[in-house]
Point group: C2
Chain length 207, copies 2
């Protein structure tokens, strides 16, 4: 049961649509209808669901609630996950206040910054701590994810530090590809690159 990258990318989208359906009071749905809503073929929906271990009932479809719960379980968003954010600039601040996270079980425990002017305050209710306290904080708190929102020049260094203290999940917003060993998961979110993709498509629309 190997889940391919393509399916992992769709997994949160399934979860989002199933949550919507659940909130709308829909009890069960066929691969045909779910595919139509999400812009996928029924075949792909069934292949995806089977591959990540979901199950339906012939002649009936999929139970919205149990499929949703199954996805939540395999994504590990039932149990609360604590994060730290390295860098309290624009991006770090924005993420600390992103409302959607808490609903999905994510919690921001602290922001860290090397700029003394930014310390001793809170941003969106999250304390801003000096970077020197990061190791101690990681050792004495149950943190599973580190968000890299610091300048590019120190991003890999910061990633190395958090990995040294046992962090296995890195969510990187700095515009470089953070290098991690196999045993650490890193998702690079390159905002500029998505904008440049948009720009390319826009530029090649007419042709």
């Amino acid at each position: 049961m190997m889940v391919s990258d393509a399916v992992i990318r769709r997994l949160p989208t399934y979860y989002r649509y199933l949550t919507m359906l659940h909130n709308d009071g829909v009890l069960h749905i066929s691969s045909f209808d779910l595919g139509k809503t999400m812009g996928l073929t029924p075949s792909q929906v069934r292949q995806d669901i089977n591959c990540f271990g979901g199950a339906g009932r012939q002649g009936f479809g999929y139970s919205v609630i149990s499929l949703k719960d199954h996805i939540a379980k395999i994504m590990g968003i039932k149990n609360k996950q604590n994060m730290v954010i390295i860098g309290s600039g624009n991006i770090g601040s924005a993420i600390s206040g992103y409302v959607g996270f808490s609903e999905s079980g994510f919690n921001v425990s602290a922001l860290f910054d090397s700029d003394e002017k930014k310390l001793d305050k809170t941003i969106n209710g999250v304390p801003v701590l000096p970077i020197s306290e990061l190791p101690d904080f990681l050792m004495s708190n149950d943190i599973s994810i580190a968000v890299i929102a610091c300048p590019e020049s120190v991003a890999q260094k910061m990633a190395n530090t958090v990995m040294e203290y046992g962090i296995k999940g890195i969510w990187n917003f700095a515009p470089i590809d953070i290098r991690t060993p196999e045993s650490v998961v890193c998702v690079n979110v390159s905002l500029l690159e998505t904008l440049q993709q948009l720009s390319f498509r826009l530029n090649n629309l007419k042709k």
Copy 2:
């Protein structure tokens, strides 16, 4: 010369690495070395470059500067592109201050908000205007991209408005899939979904 989605996604990454190489004074590079740096096979590098119209020289490799310039040109990031941001909350504010954009030719002209308390000030030097002025602003300024950074509940409505006033590029940060006609390009950036992908990988690391 149809550029596939897979290639479009890699295009900004090529640009980023070529810029780095250029800054490091590298004049030319082989598909072998470029692939090694970026984690791609030499074959893929050559296929990609050929497909978007780049060219090298047998026995020699690719000129870093001309490949970089070619990509900049097809991505349309030589000419300045003006953006407006709908929503001056956490995400909208962060984007208005993202340093990397201006270097790539992007410029934020204004933020728009429906909350009167947020008006009549600037965020990162960008004026915050009432949403009622959006149509006039779009008509009297040369804006090519709208950033949707408002609550989910009004995101599609805001997208419809900007499309009505001629915007062809939408960069969406609201956690819904914005629907656009073929003639409008939309890139949905789902922050929560990338975090959930990370969470899935983290949760399935040991198994």
